[in-house]
C-alpha cells in the first residue's frame, strides 16, 4: 500500500479519528492538570492531523514533513515550558496510534498485506515524531533550567546603594564561577545605571574562593576601572587573601577589613567626612543605638 492511500484513508475518516484521538488524550489526563485548555488541545490535534495527512500524501512530502516536525517541536516546547512530564508530552503523539490503527483496519481489514504495510508505515512515522518530540522537550527543559539558574544567581545577590555614587554588593555563600560571572555583570550594569564612582564588593559571607572566582573578582575590578569606577573589596578572610596572593594578585585592588571601613574610604575619596554629632549626650547617636 502506498503512503498516499494512508493519507486518503485518514482524510476520509478525519472526524472519527479526531474524536477517538481526543478521547485517548482526555483519558490519558491531558487536560486534568489544567495547564492546557480544551480549545487549545483541539486546535493542536487538528493541526497535527492535517499536517500528517499532507506529509504522507503530497508530492512535496519533504516540505510537508518539515512542517510536521516543526509542529511537533512547537507543541513539545510549549509543554516543556508549561511543566508537563516527558510521558505526558510523548503521549500527545503516541496516543494517535490506536485511532489510526482502527481507521486503517476498517479500511483495509480484508487486505491483510496492505493493512500490515499501512500499520508499519504509520508506526514508523509516529515513532520518529515521538523521538523528535522527546528531543525537543529535553532541549527546552535544559533551556528553562539554564535560564532559571541565571535568574536565581541574580536574585540572590542584589546590588544596593549605600550612598550617592556608592554601591555595595554583599556576596553571601559559596561562589561558583558561573554565579560570580552573572553577579559581576550585574554590578557593572548597576554602576552605569546609578552613575556610581565606587563599588564595594563585600565577601564577608563567602567561606572560600577558588582560583577561578578570585580571577573573576579581579577582572571585575579591572572592568570597572575601564568604565571609570573604582572598586573596593571588603571582608576578605585570611585564607582567601592567601589564595589571591598565590595568584600573584596584590594588584592595585583596594581592600578593607570590613564593609564599614570600605564605606568610610569611599566617602572620604568622594570628598565627604563622617563626623560625630557632639550634642548627642553620652557619645554618638550610633553607639547608643
Amino acid at each position: 500500500m502506498a503512503q498516499a492511500d494512508i493519507g486518503q484513508t485518514i482524510a476520509k475518516r478525519r472526524a472519527e479519528i479526531l474524536k477517538d484521538w481526543g478521547h485517548q488524550l482526555r483519558d490519558g489526563g491531558a487536560l486534568s492538570s489544567g495547564r492546557l485548555k480544551e480549545a487549545e488541545l483541539d486546535t493542536q490535534v487538528r493541526e497535527f492531523l492535517d499536517l500528517f495527512v499532507q506529509a504522507v500524501s503530497t508530492n512535496e512530502a519533504d516540505t510537508a514533513r518539515k512542517a510536521l516536525r516543526q509542529n511537533v517541536a512547537e507543541v513539545s516546547r510549549a509543554r516543556a515550558i508549561q511543566g508537563f512530564t516527558p510521558t505526558e508530552t510523548a503521549t500527545f503523539i503516541f496516543s494517535l496510534k490506536q485511532p489510526l490503527f482502527d481507521a486503517l483496519t476498517q479500511e483495509f481489514g480484508k487486505d491483510s498485506a496492505a493493512l500490515i504495510q499501512g500499520l508499519l508505515a504509520v508506526t514508523e512515522i509516529l515513532d520518529g515524531l515521538g523521538l523528535h518530540s522527546m528531543e525537543t522537550f529535553q532541549k527546552s527543559r535544559e533551556e528553562v533550567i539554564i535560564r532559571q539558574q541565571k535568574e536565581i544567581a541574580e536574585l540572590s545577590t542584589p546590588v544596593v546603594k549605600l550612598w550617592d555614587g556608592i554601591l555595595a554588593l554583599p556576596l553571601i555563600g559559596t561562589l561558583d564561577s558561573e554565579r560570580t560571572q552573572v553577579v559581576m555583570e550585574n554590578l557593572l550594569q548597576s554602576i552605569v545605571e546609578h552613575g556610581a564612582d565606587y563599588a564595594i564588593i563585600d565577601i564577608t559571607g563567602v567561606p572560600t574562593v577558588d582560583t577561578l572566582v578570585a580571577q573573576h573578582l579581579l577582572k571585575t575590578v579591572a572592568a570597572a576601572r575601564l568604565m571609570g569606577a573604582d572598586c573596593i573589596i571588603s571582608g576578605i578572610r585570611p585564607q582567601i587573601a592567601q589564595t589571591m596572593v598565590h595568584l600573584g594578585v596584590e594588584l592595585n585592588v583596594v581592600s578593607k577589613a570590613n564593609l564599614a571601613d570600605a564605606l568610610g574610604a569611599a566617602l572620604r575619596a568622594t570628598g565627604r567626612t563622617v563626623a560625630t554629632i557632639k550634642s548627642a549626650s553620652g557619645g554618638s547617636a550610633l553607639s547608643k543605638a
Binding site: K139, E142, E143, I146, E185
Partner: protein, 134 residues
C-alpha cells in the same frame, strides 16, 4: 540533524571587517547569546578578520550555526592563502607581534571563545576557527 546554515563573506578591505562584525553581531544575537557573549565574540571576530586582511593578504570567513543540544551559537572559519604562521605557539603568546600590533589578537581571542583552533602551513595559508555558544 539539520544541515548547518553556512554563508561566506569576503575579507578584502577594512570595510569588509566592519561588515563581518555587523553580520556576526546580528547572528550571535539571533542565536540567543547574551550581550556580553555577543560582544566577546564580535571582538574576537574583528581580531581574526583583521589578521586575515593584514597578514593573510585577504581571504574569506564562513559563518555557520552551532546547534548541539541546548547549546546554540555561532562558528566562524577564517581562511587565507597568505604566508602562513611559522610557529603557532609563538603567535599565540600574549604580546607577540610581527606587525607592530599589540600581539593580543590571537591569544586574546582564544580567551574570548568557547572553541578556538588554528591550522597553518607556511607558504600555503592559515585557517582560524572560532565558536561561541550559550
Amino acid at each position: 540533524m539539520n544541515a548547518p546554515v553556512t554563508d561566506t563573506m569576503p575579507i578584502q578591505s577594512s570595510d569588509d571587517i566592519v561588515r563581518v562584525r555587523q553580520e556576526v553581531r546580528r547572528r550571535a544575537a539571533a542565536a540567543g547569546l547574551g550581550i556580553v557573549d555577543q560582544t566577546k565574540f564580535v571582538t574576537a571576530a574583528s581580531e581574526i578578520a583583521r589578521n586575515t586582511l593584514d597578514y593573510g593578504g585577504g581571504g574569506i570567513v564562513r559563518l555557520e550555526a552551532v546547534q548541539d543540544g541546548a547549546r546554540k551559537g555561532l562558528r566562524l572559519i577564517f581562511e587565507d592563502h597568505g604566508p602562513g604562521i611559522a610557529s603557532i605557539d609563538l603567535a599565540l603568546t600574549d604580546g607577540y607581534t610581527t606587525g607592530g600590533g599589540l600581539g593580543l589578537g590571537l591569544s586574546g581571542s582564544r580567551r574570548l571563545c568557547n572553541e578556538f583552533a588554528i591550522e597553518s602551513k607556511p607558504g600555503e595559508g592559515t585557517r582560524v576557527t572560532i565558536a561561541r555558544w550559550k
